[in-house]
């Protein structure tokens, strides 16, 4: 356990395999609710780590705890080798933090915001001027440098906020739902930027409710009601979904679903637009039986095929399992 090792004042030794972020039974309870419940994680340097979960799962609280702006009520967390409770300032020098709400100054221009954070992080001289220009460019904001931040579009604001976290070249960046409320094209652009940063070796911890973004992470931590449900690579998580998957396109989704409800061998049925996605242990025999059952109920089947589960399904399936386990637990 790292708690037995002597505290080192200097940052982590690049040669060692010390994790960038480590938590042990990290807990945060508020008066009426436990927002984060005994979270134990290890994030390696250079990972893009995704915190995935629905609203209220505890993602924002987890990120705040890791950024050393909030103290836990139980357990501990170490970021860049420093304890979040006893050595927060050492952490803050090495990280960037992008909050969920737009947290830049609306009445200052884009350039003035960058300049302000450069001052705060003590970035000086020629390095500073050059970096600000580069960041404006990187955020595609060079022509908007003098526009007040409040007057920028949502996507531009997020990029500016990201740029402000990069002004001091941090080792680790925490991003709390950076793409929420942003149009899909901007979202994709934003993730391209994040991937660039990842390739430069920066550790990224990103929370998101978007399942498709989770696929772009090196590893994902699924959070539900404050607990870590699972923590692994996207592929591994998808593989955890029980059974195999048959996708069905019926003429009437509701009727088809009703018809398949009691069918033997069916583990779970999920609706997805005009698709029915059926989880089963054994796809071969079942595919024809499904087609037959649905057609027998008077619903035409346009297409049916075996397919691979997506992140969303994996997630829902794992959550269901978690809830089932919880209701089996003694109260």
């Amino acid at each position: 356990m790292t708690t037995d090792e002597p505290q080192v004042a200097v940052g982590p030794d690049p040669g060692a395999s010390q994790p960038a972020i480590e938590t042990h039974e990290l807990t945060k309870s508020f008066k009426t609710v436990v927002a984060v419940d005994s979270l134990s994680l290890r994030i390696q340097p250079g990972e893009i780590f995704g915190l995935l979960g629905p609203d209220g799962a505890g993602k924002t609280t987890t990120i705040r705890l890791l950024s050393a702006i909030m103290d836990p009520t139980g357990g501990w967390a170490k970021v860049a080798g420093f304890d979040t409770v006893t050595e927060p300032e050492a952490i803050k020098r090495r990280i960037g933090y992008m909050a969920q709400r737009f947290n830049l100054y609306g009445d200052l221009s884009a350039w003035e915001n960058l300049n302000f954070f450069a001052d705060v992080f003590e970035v000086r001289g020629a390095e500073r001027t050059e970096r600000i220009e580069r960041l404006l460019n990187f955020a595609r904001l060079t022509e908007f440098r003098d526009r007040r931040a409040a007057k920028l579009s949502g996507g531009m604001q997020k990029k500016l906020a990201l740029a402000c976290t990069l002004v001091h070249t941090p080792e680790i960046i925490f991003l709390d739902e950076p793409t929420t409320g942003v149009d899909p094209v901007s979202r994709r652009e934003f993730w391209d930027i994040l991937t660039d940063l990842h390739l430069q070796g920066i550790t990224l911890v990103v929370s998101t409710p978007y399942m498709d973004e989770a696929e772009r992470c090196s590893r994902i931590g699924l959070i539900y009601q404050g607990r870590l449900v699972v923590c692994d690579t996207p592929e591994a998580i998808k593989a955890m979904t029980e059974g195999e998957l048959i996708a069905l396109w019926p003429a009437d989704v509701r009727q088809a679903r009703k018809a398949l409800a009691g069918l033997g061998g069916v583990l779970e049925i999920q609706t997805y637009g005009d698709q029915l996605r059926v989880f089963t242990h054994d796809t071969d025999g079942l595919m024809e039986r499904i087609r037959a059952t649905v057609t027998g109920a008077g619903v035409e089947v346009y297409d049916v095929r075996v397919t691979r589960p997506r992140m969303e399904e994996a997630f829902i399936s794992l959550i269901r399992r978690q809830m089932a386990e919880k209701s089996d637990e003694p109260a």
Binding site: I95, A99, R101, L104, E122, C164
Partner: protein
């Protein structure tokens, strides 16, 4: 302590204060505007109080007495009732605040050397005006009475100046005509200069509401740097309205300025330091901007009006209240303001108050830094 960081916070706050032109204008002008409004409200020099006279004697001497009563503009004859029954309705209407009733036989008694009486009925609902009326009626009556004595003495062949054994010579220093405005307005200047502090109390509350505080505490900025950085621009902004207020007082209301302008400016800076420290301390706790504004209104305006010695003199305060009053910076600055403007006092006379202001400022600054944590 990194001065570059402090300067950058100062610059940022200054932009916040000045970039919204409307609120900046309000911040600069509201002390002066408040001063103008309140000066009119508080100018309690009373003149032209209406009185009525019921003359039951109808003699030359009674008429002489009446013209004595009306000889200054302190009292003004408004009504001449003929019968006693008219007096009450007259007072009810409020047209007169007092009625002087001269009995029949007034002249006859005075001329034959017998004492006579004059009855005065006063409207007691407004003690201020009633007191004024009583004082002036008494004063005029006394003066008239002395003239009568002089006449009688002359008739008896005795020297006339026996009637006035003691010549009381009164001189009111600093404010010869005892104008209320001279006392009120410098005090009001002291009070309105705490208005900018109400804006300062919003400082942290606003960053909390904007969400920028969260981002700021995730940076390595120091607590002291942040607080100092917010203090300085607000003190500066408050300082800009000082000359305006002085101009209103001296030019607009003819308040004397007998002391040193430099001294006043320097001490007003110290006063602003004290009030801004309190305001920032408040903003550490205020959950929202509304709470911050309400809290600062109570602290600055309430204490300013009721505890600074403006409306209630210190001699009327009990020891506990007096002690509390002197914990507020406004109390000290009202005294400083009056002393410099009206009395022309120098630094030596005001040392104690200046020290108190500095002390208050430093204590609250320290408390703010201690209580402000860079954690959510």
């Amino acid at each position: 302590m990194n001065w570059r960081r402090i300067l950058s916070i100062v610059r940022k706050e200054w932009w916040h204060i000045t970039r919204d032109k409307t609120s900046f204008g309000l911040l600069l002008l509201s002390p002066a505007l408040a001063l103008v409004t309140m000066a009119y409200a508080f100018s309690v020099d009373i003149t032209d109080v209406g009185i009525g006279v019921l003359d039951q004697d109808h003699s030359p001497l009674s008429r002489q007495y009446i013209s004595e009563l009306a000889s200054t503009n302190a009292l003004r004859l408004e009504a001449w009732p003929d019968y006693l029954e008219e007096v009450e309705p007259l007072m009810m209407r409020g047209q007169v605040k007092a009625v002087v009733i001269i009995p029949a036989g007034f002249e006859r008694d005075l001329l034959s050397g017998r004492p006579t009486g004059v009855q005065v009925v006063v409207d007691g609902t407004d003690p201020n005006t009633a007191g004024h009326a009583i004082r002036h009626i008494s004063g005029h009556t006394e003066h008239f009475a002395k003239e009568q004595i002089a006449r009688q003495l002359a008739q008896a062949g005795l020297p006339a100046d026996l009637e006035d054994p003691i010549d009381l010579r009164l001189r009111a220093w600093f404010n010869p005509s005892l104008r209320y405005t001279v006392s009120m307005i410098p005090a009001l200047v002291g009070i309105v200069l705490s208005v900018p502090a109400m804006a300062a109390s919003l400082a942290l509350a606003r960053e909390r509401e904007w969400g920028t505080l969260e981002g700021l505490i995730a940076t390595p900025i120091g607590r002291v740097e942040l607080i100092v950085g917010k203090l300085i621009p607000y003190i500066l902004a408050g300082f800009l309205s000082v000359p305006l207020c002085l101009a209103v007082a001296v030019i607009g209301f003819k308040v004397p300025f007998n002391g040193s302008l430099t001294l006043f400016l320097v001490l007003s800076l110290i006063f602003l330091f004290a009030t801004m420290s309190i305001a920032l301390f408040l903003s550490v706790f205020a959950g929202s901007q509304q709470v911050a504004i309400l809290g600062s209104m109570i602290i600055f305006l309430f204490s300013g009006f009721f505890m600074s010695g403006l409306l209630i003199p210190f001699s009327l305060m009990g020891p506990m209240l007096k002690m509390e009053a002197f914990m507020f910076p406004t109390t000290h600055f009202v005294i400083i303001s009056r002393s410099i403007l009206v009395k022309g006092a120098g630094f030596a006379a005001l040392q104690g108050f200046v020290l108190a202001l500095l002390g208050i400022g430093v204590i609250f600054f320290a408390l703010t830094v201690l209580m402000f944590k860079k954690k959510l």
